[in-house]
């Protein structure tokens, strides 16, 4: 996990990150969360076109020991899921910022939903 986190990501206190990519927002898990989970062995992702409000469970990630629910850091409609994770969930451990992303969403509510999110440095301080 030596790869740097992308510039400009925002993190939730429930350990998801969001990256504004112009048309869509990319969502993943933070390095801290992945470190806590250990080896990830299974990922359940939502269907494309499904919609979630901020704070809703949209995915489940399982480590060897336990299953964890993943919450939407912002509200939005799923436009793409990272299919590669289905057969290679370990990508999240290996490369959480790039290959380990979970979903891309379209969001009309980003402006208000992102108010409670933290910049990466502040997030790290919060969880440390």
């Amino acid at each position: 996990m030596s790869i740097q986190q992308p510039e400009g990501i925002l993190c939730s206190k429930s350990h998801e990150w969001v990256l504004d990519e112009g048309d869509t927002y990319k969502i993943g898990l933070t390095d801290y969360a992945v470190e806590q989970l250990g080896d990830i062995v299974f990922v359940e992702l939502p269907e494309v076109d499904s919609e979630f409000a901020k704070g809703e469970v949209f995915a489940t990630i399982e480590s060897v020991k336990a299953a964890s629910e993943i919450y939407m850091p912002i509200g939005g409609k799923i436009v793409e899921v990272n299919e590669e994770l289905i057969n290679s969930p370990e990508l999240i451990n290996e490369n959480v910022w790039e290959k380990g992303w979970l979903v891309k969403v379209q969001s009309d509510t980003f402006a208000q939903d992102s108010l409670g999110l933290l910049e990466y440095e502040d997030y790290k301080e919060e969880v440390a």
Partner: protein, 379 residues
């Protein structure tokens, strides 16, 4: 929470610590999957000092043990280990045990979380028998060395292979000049050893084994991989697969129980009755493999033909097989009564498709034979 004498070593090795049976134990060092794999391919070293050691001696030690376990202790040979259970009078389990027969005494290994319950039960059963029960768990530490290269590590440590105890036996010996019990036992399905030593010696033994095990790719292994290893070998975990609510026959441990033991013992009527088929089972532990993509965890509900009929007692991925596996307890009462006849033999049960509820959805699984991964014991 209690700490083992190896606590500082675990922290220095970067372990993630968790609570287990009242102890603060390492769940993993770097990666559960890597640790698991290394035990199957090379060798792993585990701190199992949370396990308890109880010695039983005296003129009536044999009579006492005959009363409390279904196994025939009179047939135990010197320096041999035996897998035993500790039933209540109704046949359900206080604990499961390993009993070693030593010169003039017996050494009983008990589960960490059951130590007090076991010792209380021992004392309650002692009556006026002339036997001494000594719980020495606080004096001893325990290290497990498991995997195909465990023998070589012990040889490198100064005990030649021909002098190492054979499968399921114990020897009182010296390791790096420390007095130890060296046992050819374990909880992974691999060949290997368990080393019982004084608390004061354990740090040095641990460090030396890790050091000279380097050439055999030794790694420390936490409870996370210990759990996936024992599950692949379909070894029961007390508190999950067996409990105060299961008898050894229901748990599929009938192989360890003789039919011809003359002495009476706690729970004999139920245990033997179930073993002989005179008392029908009301539930039974089965091994399953997921057919659909989901991991069934402890507590997940099990369905057969739309009827809820039990729950998962242990469930995980199998790192060796790359499948999701588990054990489940299926009930044969109420609307599931007919399952007793449809699942009562291996021939009938194996291949049966069941459904397991994970996050409110049903996923298919099938009953398979135990163990999931063949044991590598060298007998």
């Amino acid at each position: 929470m209690k700490k083992t004498f190896l606590y500082d070593e675990h922290i220095a090795l970067g372990a993630k610590m968790v609570e287990f049976g009242g102890w603060e134990m390492p769940v993993q060092y770097k990666s559960i999957l890597d640790e698991h794999k290394n035990v199957r391919e090379n060798v792993g070293i585990f701190d199992v000092s949370h396990m308890g050691q109880v010695f039983v001696s005296g003129d009536e030690a044999l009579n006492f043990l005959q009363k409390i376990v279904p196994q025939d202790v009179s047939k135990f040979s010197l320096n041999h280990a035996h897998y035993c259970q500790l039933p209540y009078s109704n046949g359900t389990l206080v604990d499961d045990l390993i009993i070693y027969k030593l010169e003039n005494k017996y050494l009983i290994i008990v589960n960490a979380s059951r130590r007090e319950a076991d010792v209380d039960w021992f004392k309650m059963n002692l009556g006026d028998m002339d036997a001494k029960i000594e719980d020495k768990s606080d004096e001893f530490s325990m290290i497990a060395l498991q995997g195909p290269k465990a023998l070589e590590v012990i040889e490198k440590a100064g005990i030649k292979k021909e002098n190492q105890p054979k499968f399921f036996t114990i020897s009182e010996t010296k390791l790096f000049d420390f007095d130890i019990y060296l046992c050819r036992t374990g909880y992974t399905g691999e060949d290997g050893f368990e080393i019982i030593c004084k608390n004061s010696d354990v740090v040095e033994i641990w460090k030396k084994l890790l050091e000279l095990g380097k050439e055999f790719s030794i790694t420390p292994v936490g409870l996370g991989a210990r759990d996936t290893l024992r599950l692949e070998a379909a070894l029961c975990l007390y508190g999950s697969d067996i409990s105060e609510e299961t008898t050894p026959i229901e748990a599929g441990l009938g192989w360890s129980i003789p039919k011809d033991k003359k002495e009476d013992y706690n729970g004999k009527k139920v245990i033997l009755g179930q073993k002989n088929g005179e008392i029908p089972l009301t539930k039974k532990l089965f091994a399953f493999e997921m057919l659909d993509k989901a991991i069934a965890r402890h507590g997940a509900k099990v369905f057969i033909d739309g009827r809820e009929c039990g729950c998962v007692t242990s469930g995980s991925i199998s790192p060796t097989l790359g499948k999701n596996i588990g054990l489940c307890l299926i009930s044969f009462v109420g609307e599931c009564e007919d399952l007793e006849t449809s699942l009562n033999t291996n021939e009938k049960s194996i291949g049966t498709v069941i459904q397991i509820m994970v996050r409110n959805k049903l996923y298919n699984a099938k009953i398979v034979k135990k163990p999931f991964v063949e044991k590598k014991y060298v007998k």
